[in-house]
Amino acid sequence: MATKKLASLSGRRRAGNIASYIGLTLISIIWIIPFIFLVLQSFDVATTSLTGNVWPQKWGFDNFIFLFSGDCDFLQWYFNTFIIALCVCVGQTIMQIMMAYALSRFRFRLRKAMMNVMLVLGMFPGFLTMIVLYEVLKTLGMTGENAVPGLILVSIASSGMGYYVAKGFLDTMPKSLDEAAMVDGANRFQVFYKVIMPLCKPIVIYIILTSFMGPWGDYIFAATLAKNISEGFNVATGLSTWLSQANIDSYYKYFCAGGVVVAIPVIVLFLFLQKYYVEGVTGGAVKG
């Protein structure tokens, strides 16, 4: 009797698993189709316009060669984006981890109020402040062809707001580590970089990845600041110009190739840091 019950339980569990896997596979296929489509289209050299064919009529690298040939501004956009992403990545990582350390370890007046205010501010979409920021950056001469430093400045300035995950991670670290280091002769900064930073490796990797990917895909603010001046475009803004009604027939396949090239650095970075990324997110979330 008991064996029969057990078998039935095992069977039900197996059926549940099969249903789950089918559902998840379908979702994965739906999610991955646009990427496959993009990659396939980037290799289609038969025509530059949007066609109904998913599979390339004629295979080749012409679209990629065009991107780097100097016949378009793609290299400029790519360089702009890379510079922005690199600077923001470094700046945000330093700012966020220090902010998280301060909020996790120090107790000061209005600490909680500040955290609450940041939480509420974080709920507003970023582009609400776009007009004001545009005016400020325009005054500083950081728009149009000089949009790159403007974008770096704005992204780094607001980076402290994303301290939550890092603080959560730091909160799980015993404070006695800091105290032991202080008794051992370390000052606060030494505690931070000799003890805390090496232990924060997973969360630092997480911040590096997220802060690198942010500017890489930024469109609205980058487009606003660049004001239709190609020298100030990042890749997202630049590539979007190829999708305009006037350009789509001439540039569609180049757009697809550009999309693939844009994804490469992020994919490489992610593959290298994937292990730490997962560890960082779970470590900060559930580590007790």
Partner: protein
């Protein structure tokens, strides 16, 4: 090696919650003081104030005569072992132990080369760490990370890290509480040995009265932020100042009975469960000396000062055995009287007859007798020991120790023992405290007694000093090299014992250490 003075120290959190009240304590140089008490009594807070990890809300903390209230932990010349060891997970055992030495950038004389350098040289760090590792028997784990060690090994590393630093005060915050019972006993013994080796001042925090009794020269028993009693383990056990100390120290807990102390001429007795038990011996004499009249009391009798018998005599009480807890060498017998009073009796199994073993089982009626000379008499209202010396109390009825008296430098240097001093202190708090004390009825008598005690303590300290000198004399061969710093290789003073007892192991460990040194190269950099 330093004297630690805590003068009217208070800890108030957010201006509301007072965690430590008027803490006054003078810890002598090289003394091992244990703070003991239940959770939330303020013992760890006090220790952390000494360490500089908590701000001192009021009062003064002095280490080696220097006020350290505003000094950072790193400038207090302290070492600390934490409850959770607080080892740096990303560093190897070697680097963990070398960490405080690498951070030390004070200008000093290199013990190997004799040159004046900033901080410690790599060779010196290597030597110090390997020496400490050898003493703690963790040489083979030096290249491991903390996660690859067991609890006991981690604890040794934490002690090692504290040991390598030349500290004045060694602080330990419940270092054994994360270990299992067997390992705790083992480590307790090792701490006793360590204390003999490291001649420094120790402050040890624990909630375990067994640790306090076995480790401490003096115990500070605390409750709700107040010191309940300060004394040697024997004093706390034999003459507790109040019921709290009486019940906290000793396991199982002291039994208490609401009863009547009866005086008949020069003899005393207590009426317990309608049986008149005469109070004889030293306790009877003390009652007489204090001229205590017949009065209601709270009688305290420790479980080991009671006996169970299968035969009734005129001073025994019939009780029913409820539970027998076999502890191996002893049995804790839970009995109840006819009026349902619960009593715990501790019986050594070695003294039990076969008849007793057969009869003292749950459900049987046996007879309980008391050892009159080991009874404790408490006031039922304020729960103070009637026979203990008079104490200053505050408005809450809790003991306030007189503030630690300041001593001129020359006196400190001369002996290092604290002496009672009659002049009031200039500090406003201390004056207020002095007034409270002066207002007490028996202040005069207390001062007299304190003086006597101080003299006795002085004599005891002198004896201890003589003993310490004798030990020092024994270790003399290793000491001069340390002081002069002329020898190219500084040998640790404990090496003498190790070599004596285990020369072969010494050679093996030295070879291992040498191999490790070569492996690491001249500048060990850990796993960076």
């Amino acid at each position: 090696m330093a004297r630690v003075q805590l003068i009217n120290v208070k800890k108030i959190y957010q201006g509301k919650v007072t965690a430590v009240h008027d803490f006054n304590l003078d810890i002598k140089d090289k003394e091992f003081v244990v703070f003991v008490g239940p959770s939330g009594c303020g013992k760890s807070t006090t220790l952390r104030m000494v360490a500089g990890l908590e701000d001192i809300s009021e009062g003064i903390c002095k280490i080696d005569g220097e006020v350290v209230n505003d000094l950072l932990p790193k400038d207090r010349h302290i070492s600390m072992v934490f409850q959770n060891y607080a080892l740096y997970p990303h560093l190897t055992v070697f680097e963990n132990m070398a960490f405080p030495l690498r951070l030390n950038k004070r200008v000093r004389t290199d013990s190997i080369t004799g040159k004046t350098i900033k901080g410690y040289s790599q060779d010196e760090i290597f030597q110090k760490v390997t020496e400490a590792a050898k003493v703690l028997n963790i040489t083979q784990y030096l290249t491991r990370k903390p996660k690859a060690l067991s609890g006991g090994q981690r604890q040794r590393v934490a002690i090692g890290r504290a040991m390598v630093k030349d500290c004045k005060v060694f602080l330990m915050d419940e270092p054994l509480s994360n270990l299992d019972a067997k390992l705790r006993n083992q480590m307790r013994a090792e701490i006793i040995l360590l204390r003999k080796r490291i001649q420094t001042t120790f402050i040890y925090v624990t909630h375990d009265q067994t640790e306090a009794m076995t480790l401490g020269d003096r115990i500070v028993c605390m409750r709700d932020g107040f010191i309940m009693q300060v004394g040697t383990p024997t004093e706390l056990f034999e003459m507790p100042d109040n019921l709290f100390v009486a019940q906290f120290i000793g396991a199982p807990m002291m039994n208490t009975f609401n009863t009547e102390l009866i005086r008949e001429g020069k003899s005393y007795s207590v009426n317990l469960f309608d049986v008149k038990i005469p109070v004889t011996g030293e306790k009877g004499d003390m009652l007489l000396k204090k001229d205590i009249e017949s009065r209601p009391i709270l009688l305290g009798v420790r479980p080991e000062h009671m006996a169970l018998s299968v035969k009734q005599d005129k001073a025994s009480i019939p009780v029913t055995v409820e539970v027998c807890e076999m502890m191996g060498s002893e049995i804790h017998v839970h009995v109840t009287t006819k009026d349902d009073t619960k009593i715990i009796v501790r019986i050594p199994t070695i003294n039990m007859t076969q008849e007793e073993k057969d009869k003292i089982i749950p459900g049987n009626e046996v007879f309980l007798s008391f050892e009159a000379k080991a009874m404790h008499f408490f006031d039922p209202e304020d729960e103070k020991n009637l026979l203990a010396g008079p104490r200053a109390v505050n408005s809450k009825g809790l003991i306030v120790l007189p503030p630690v008296e300041e001593q001129p430098e020359d006196e400190e240097n001369a002996g290092g023992e604290e002496e009672a001093k009659e002049e009031p202190k200039s500090d406003a708090n201390q004056e207020e405290l002095a007034k409270q004390i002066a207002a007490l009825k028996e202040a005069e008598e207390a001062a007299k007694k304190a003086k006597e005690e101080a003299e006795a303590a002085k004599a005891e300290a002198e004896a201890a000093k003589a003993a310490a000198e004798a030990i020092k004399a024994e270790e003399a061969p290793a000491e001069p090299a340390k002081e002069e710093g002329k020898s190219p290789i500084k040998r640790h003073k404990y090496d003498v014992d190790i070599e004596k007892h285990n020369k072969e192991r010494e050679k093996k460990e030295a070879a291992e250490a040498e191999a490790l040194k070569h492996k690491r190269g001249p500048k060990p950099k850990g796993d960076k």
